[in-house]
Structure formats: C-alpha cells, structure tokens
C-alpha cells in the first residue's frame, strides 16, 4: 500500500494515493472557496441579478442574463474613470511616500547601535493596530477644528485644511494614515533584504572613499532591489484594494473624492444589491491588477538585480 522509499533526487511521481489524504482538505478549499466562486462570479457578472431571486434556479438565466451589458455600462460611464482617477491619485502619493518611509525605517533598524530594538517595537506598533482603529484614531487627529494635526500646524502659524471634509485633501489624508500604518510592515521586509548584503562591499567602497549617502544609493539599494520589487508589487496590489480606511474615514466622500474600486463593489453588491453590476466591477478590478502586475514583472528586468 504505502510508497516504498523514494529515490534520491526527489519524490516519486506516482504517489497519488499516498498524497490524497494530505491534499484533500486544501484541494476541497481550492474548489469551494476559489475555483467555484470564480466561475459563479464570472457568470453573475453577465446578469442583472439582484441578490433576491434564487441564484441559478431553473429559468434563472432566461430571466437575468444580460450579456455584456454590465461591462458596457461600467466602461462607458463616468464613474469608473472617476474611481480610477481617485485610485491613481492615491497611488501617486502613497507609493513614493511609503517606499521612502519604509526604506528609511529599514536603514535605521539595520544599525547595530544601542536602542534599535526599542525603535523596532515603536515602528511596528502601527502595523499591529487594526485598520479600523487606525482609521478612527486618524479621523480624530485630522478633525479640522479640534484635532491634533491642525492645532499642531497652528503652532507654526499654518492654517490646516479641512482634511477629510475637503474634497481636495481627503485622499491625501487617507494616504497619510496608510503610509503611517504600512511603513513599519514594508520596512521589516526591506530590512530582511538589507541585512543580507555582504559587508565586504561596504568596506571596499569605504576604501574607495565613498560616503554614507553614496554607499546607500550605489550598494544598498541595488543589492536589495529584489526586496524593493516585492514591496512594490504587494503595495500596488494593496493600493487597488484600498477599502477599510475609506469606509471608516470618508465613506467615499466628500463629493465622491475618495470613491475607490472595492468601495464601489461593496456599495453596489451589499448596499444596492446590484450583484451583477458589482461582480462585473470586481472583474474589471481583477484585470487591472493583473495588467499592472504583468507590467511590473516586465519592467523588473531593467532594474532588479538578482546576482547579489
């Protein structure tokens, strides 16, 4: 019954019976929680299903199938472009700020000076905080009249904006909380890339008279480019899926300035019960994420260095 000893150099390829009990739970999950919903989601996106009628009951498709109507409506309406514009604004502010902050944190934490472990805990506290708590805290900090931020700015004679209440500043405020919360997380990933760099490179550079700044840009950054690449991929995917901050802090407002993809999907699906429309929206999100990831994968050849 069970497989006899494996040959050296890898497992046998005929262990299906032995593998089955190990694979079963996960495989069941793959089918029920991933592949089946994926198919059904595609199907729903071609319908005007309202979430009430029995899904896929006899006669369901005759009654609800509307072909590409949802996609046509979304792609020809102004809303998608507005939402993508908002997301674009978020990405343009968030990615450079987050990368700068997490690189700086990683650099500071890579030091062997005294007190580094205390700084590590402090930098990690925002990561431990849930998005809900972080969003509530920042909503209070950014409250225009009674919040900490504007009163702090006032000490320097600066009149702060209305932040979440001002459509020009609302997205910037959401970027602020996101950078604050994410920098510690991505900082630790970058740190693991940073500490792996061979010390002899730095010694050689020092002998050649390179300063700290030059060493950072010419040695550290190129040699940790795989970690930076990973962070960029994950951060961009997360950026397209921006959600809890928006729900708690602005609810998509003011004047739809912070409406984003997932917020729309949630709103259409579970507030307006336009399931078909929401499903189509989610597939457009899927395609955008795939396209962005593919572009990044292509572009990495130009700058990511795997030879270290």
């Amino acid at each position: 019954m069970p497989q006899k000893a494996n040959r050296r150099g890898g497992p046998k390829k005929d262990g299906l019976l032995t593998a089955a009990p190990f694979l079963l739970p996960s495989l069941l999950g793959l089918l029920v929680f991933s592949l089946l919903p994926l198919l059904v989601s595609a199907l729903i996106s071609f319908t005007d299903w309202n979430g009430l009628d029995q899904l896929l009951a006899p006669g369901f498709l005759q009654e609800h199938f509307i072909g590409l109507e949802n996609y046509k409506n979304i792609l020809s309406g102004a809303e998608l472009w507005k939402v993508l514009g908002n997301t674009g604004a978020y990405i343009i502010m968030y990615i450079p700020l987050m990368l700068a902050a997490s690189l700086l944190e990683a650099y500071l934490l890579s030091s062997t000076r005294r007190g580094v472990s205390a700084f590590r805990v402090v930098y990690y506290l925002p990561v431990l905080t849930s998005w809900v708590a972080a969003s509530l805290i920042w909503t209070s900090v950014l409250s225009p009249q009674y919040g900490a931020m504007n009163n702090l700015l006032a000490l320097f004679g600066i009149q702060g904006p209305g932040w979440l209440l001002d459509e020009k500043w609302a997205m910037a405020a959401i970027v602020l909380v996101s950078v604050w919360k994410d920098a510690g997380f991505f900082g630790l990933i970058l740190l693991s890339g940073m500490v792996g760099i061979n010390k002899s490179y730095y010694e050689a550079a020092s002998l050649d008279g390179a300063g700290t700044w030059k060493k950072f840009w010419r040695i550290t950054v190129p040699l940790m480019s795989p970690a930076i690449f990973y962070v960029l991929i994950v951060a961009l995917i997360n950026a397209f899926q921006l959600f809890p901050q928006v729900m708690i802090m602005t609810d998509g407002g003011p004047n739809s300035a912070t409406q984003v993809m997932v917020e729309r999907i949630y709103r259409y699906g579970f507030r307006y019960f336009r399931m078909g429309y929401a499903a189509a929206f989610s597939w457009i999100l899927f395609v955008i994420i795939m396209a962005c990831t593919a572009i990044q994968m292509k572009a990495q050849k130009r700058w990511v260095n795997y030879d270290a």
Binding site: P2, P11, L30, F33, F119, A133, S140, L285
Partner: protein, 275 residues
C-alpha cells in the same frame, strides 16, 4: 570616537527619534482624547493633556459592547483560522514536496495562480455559498476559508523541499508510516516557516475587516474591528468614546505580540538544527 562618527551617531538618534515620535503621536493623542469628557474634546484652545481626566468614555465603551465576549470571538476565530491554515497548508505542502504525484507541478502552478485573484471577485458567490450553508452569523463562515491558503502552501513547499530525503528514508526504514513521517519529521523541520506563518496569519485574521463585516452582523458574534466600527455614529462623533474603544481594542494584540515574540525566537532557534 572621531567627530565625524559622533555626528553620525547623533544624526542617527535624531532621525530615529523623529520617526518614533511620528509613529507614536497618534497613539498619544488617542490616549489623551480617551481621557477627556464630552465637553473637553470640544474646548478651544484644545487640551493636549486633559485638564480633568475622566473615565466616562471607557465606561461608555464597556456598556456599548461586551468587550470580553468580543475579544473571545476574535480570539476563537483567529486561533482556529491560524491552526487550520497551518495544518491544511502543511499537509498539502507535504504532498507536493515529499510525496509527489502525477501533475503535482501543474497543480502547484494552479495554486500560485489563484493568489492573483482579488478576494472581491469571489466575495459575492462566497456570500451566496455561506448563505446556502446557513453560516451567516456563524464563526464557520469566517474560519472555513482558511483551509485554502496558497501563499502558506507555497512557503511550506519551499521549506519542505529543503528537507533531505535521507531523513525521511531513515524514518521509513525504522518502520514509520507516511503520517508519522509527516508528523515526526516534516512538521518539526518546518517550524521556522510555520512560526512565521502563524504570526502573519493570526494578524491577518485578527485585523480582517471586509469579510467579517459581511458575515457577522449580530452584535454578539462580532469580532473586535467590526464591533469597534459600530461605535462610530453618523453624526457628531464622540471622539473620546472612539479613542477609548480603539485603545481597548489594541490591548489584546499587543499582549499577544509580546508573547509571540518569545515564541518567534524559539521558532528561529529550533530552525537552527535544519540540515
């Protein structure tokens, strides 16, 4: 110490401290606000430190939601979620990396491909499935999806591949069955990856928002983030109550983090034996 080096050290501590202050500042504001009375949060000029500290906000938080029950819900869900993720993923990884079967590379590629699917795409059908199974407002709806975590499978496959075949062979020669090989050899040797995954999976489940928001709508079933979000009224936010709630909601995860840090270290040390 040369002057240049001393300047470098000073610069290091100045920059590190500035970042630490920026990280901590919102928390300090949260603590300060949580100790103000309803009147004090709207006083001008604002009080950086509450002039008459009051515990009213905390009293209100504890009367508005059953804190112990909510923490219990969150703990139960996150622990079950983590255990199921680790067990199911380790079993699958063992099948992929150490048993082997025809088509295992192809299936592993399919696993990796599913990592690309945003949760929002499968969310609506999953809602229907959970509804059909009458699992809405049941912890199962939030826990069960943990059975399929392709990222964890992928990480564990990497680690299991590094286990020398000789170890498994030796165990088999000693008469160990395949389940014993898994439990006594493969699992312990994956401890470093398992402990890292445990921490990240637990955090992911603990702080999750969208799915529990859809699944757990009854007050007594809610997890911490969801219960916390219900404190937010539509009009006139009571910031002192919201801040007290936020602070209270952070206490368990900070305690867990401090405890897990020690486990983490042990996991890393156990990893030192790997061949």
């Amino acid at each position: 110490m040369t002057l240049k080096k001393r300047l470098g050290t000073t610069g290091y501590y100045v920059v590190s401290t500035v970042i630490a202050v920026v990280s901590m500042f919102p928390f300090l504001w949260m603590i300060s606000t949580s100790l103000k009375s309803q009147g004090a949060i709207m006083s001008i000029p604002i009080q950086w430190i509450p002039q008459e500290p009051s515990g009213d906000a905390y009293v209100e938080v504890f009367t508005k939601f059953n804190f112990l029950r909510t923490v219990g819900n969150s703990l139960f869900i996150s622990v079950s979620y983590t255990v199921i993720t680790l067990l199911s993923s380790a079993m699958a990884a063992f099948a992929f990396a150490k048993v082997g079967f025809c088509g295992n590379d192809l299936l592993l590629k399919l696993y990796l491909a599913t990592m690309m699917i945003p949760t929002q795409v499968t969310m609506i059908p999953l809602f229907v499935i959970m509804n059909k199974l009458s699992l809405i407002n049941n912890f199962g709806s939030v826990i069960l999806p943990s059975i399929f975590k392709p990222f964890a499978v992928f990480m564990l496959v990497q680690q299991m591949r590094a286990i020398p075949e000789d170890y498994l062979d030796a165990a088999r020669i000693d008469g160990a069955g395949i389940f014993q090989v898994f439990r006594k050899i493969a699992l312990p040797m994956c401890l470093p990856t398992l402990s890292t995954l445990a921490v990240t999976t637990f955090m992911e489940s603990w702080n999750d928002y969208l799915w529990p928001l859809l699944m757990l709508t009854q007050r007594e079933k809610m997890t911490l983030p969801i219960a916390l979000s219900t404190l937010q009224g539509t009009y006139n936010p009571q910031y002192n109550v919201l801040m007290a709630g936020s602070l209270v909601s952070m206490v368990p995860i900070i305690i867990i983090y401090i405890m897990a840090q020690r486990n983490f270290k042990n996991g890393m040390m156990a990893g030192g034996i790997k061949g």
